[in-house]
């Protein structure tokens, strides 16, 4: 079996919008990390990450979000995270204290 995540990036008025779908665990975290850091490398005005279609993530993914948020914060770039209200990903984010470095938004219908 193979853990698969798809990272899609669009740039919209200087805002980098990253959408991650699939699953993130220890097996593919390095690959996902590389794609995400490549996406934000061009000094964007802000970063928005949509996790609506992420069906599995755990502390390994939370660690990536923490590192990313801290790094962006040092460059005064805001990070917003989008997850459905009832998603386990949202509870992971809330429990982890990520909201101190990133803003959490519900998925809009």
């Amino acid at each position: 079996m193979m853990t698969i995540a798809t990272v899609e990036t669009t740039i919209d008025n200087g805002i980098v919008r990253i959408s991650i779908s699939g699953e993130i665990d220890m097996a593919n975290i390095a690959a996902v990390e590389q794609e995400v850091y490549t996406a934000v490398s061009g000094q964007p005005a802000a970063v928005s990450m949509d996790l609506t279609n992420l069906i599995y993530m755990d502390s390994v993914g939370i660690r990536l979000l923490f590192d990313l948020a801290s790094r962006l914060q040092r460059s005064h770039i805001t990070l917003e995270l989008i997850t459905p209200c009832e998603a386990p990903t949202r509870r992971l984010i809330e429990l982890s204290g990520l909201e101190s470095v990133a803003t959490l938004y519900p998925t809009s219908n």
């Binding site: 193979m2 699953e23 665990d25 220890m26 599995y56 755990d58 502390s59 390994v60 009832e86």
Partner: protein
């Protein structure tokens, strides 16, 4: 002697059902059939051995070569084996468990009880997907709701990640075992290793993993001993956590 391979492939996911007696006389034909389907971009490979009644050393070699090829492409095949079969002992005494996730299933039709499931996989990051898929399949057979499934996946995922990260040290290799059973109204997942943890995972990332493990279950019991660590996770089947 006769053996048969029933092969199906869909979206990179391959399922091979072997049956009968596999020996030197028919192994080449089976190998051709398997090789034809195990190619290209694969995401999952399962080999069901529950209908195999005899397997000689050439048959074991066939499975080992298949698993080695898949390992090269970071894929861990599932070997589905009946818990009370002679095939199980053959597999366990071979080097196959180093390269495959062995799913030990109860094959009996005379019981309406939910059968437990045991998964024995190499303690490597690439096994995590096998473990999740096995967990999803088993939880769906017991009718668990989506919320319970999501939470059990995370709690068990954290426990297994802990094993992969800590149990066997930097150079060591070993196994992670997941046992699933239904104790109405609870699901009980036991995650075991035979390693010697340097220190319990506190602080940083693993500390958070342990926090999630507790938050997504009703009860977590961790038993660290000189011959390994066992984590027992209990989760009510009702959607809301008590």
């Amino acid at each position: 002697m006769t053996a048969a391979a029933e092969v199906s492939a869909e979206n990179g996911s391959v399922c091979i059902r072997l049956s009968g007696e596999i020996d030197r006389a028919n192994v080449a034909a089976l190998e051709d059939q398997i090789r034809a389907v195990v190619s290209g971009q694969l995401t999952a490979v399962s080999v069901d051995l529950t209908k195999v009644t005899y397997l000689d050393s050439t048959g074991k070699r066939l499975l080992f070569d298949l698993a080695s090829t898949l390992w090269e492409s970071h894929l861990v095949p599932n070997l589905i084996v009946a818990v009370d079969s002679s095939i199980r002992r053959l597999i366990e005494w071979s080097r196959l468990p180093l390269l495959a996730a062995v799913m030990l299933v109860v094959c009996r039709d005379d019981s309406s009880d939910v059968s437990p499931l045991e998964v024995v996989a190499p303690a490597q990051p690439r096994s995590l997907k096998n473990i999740r898929d096995a967990l999803r399949g088993w939880l769906s057979t017991i009718g668990a709701g989506p919320h319970v499934v999501d939470e059990v996946l995370i709690a068990v995922g954290e426990a297994c990640t802990n094993v992969i990260d800590h149990a066997y040290g930097a150079q060591g290799s070993g196994m992670v075992t997941l046992h699933l059973k239904l104790e109405v109204p609870d699901v009980v997942a036991t995650i075991a290793d035979t390693g010697q943890w340097g220190s319990p995972p506190t602080g940083g990332n693993r500390g958070q993993g342990t926090l999630f493990m507790h938050n997504f279950s009703d009860e977590v019991r961790i038993d660290r001993g000189p011959t390994g660590t066992t984590v027992v996770i209990r989760r009510r089947l009702t959607e809301e956590k008590t």
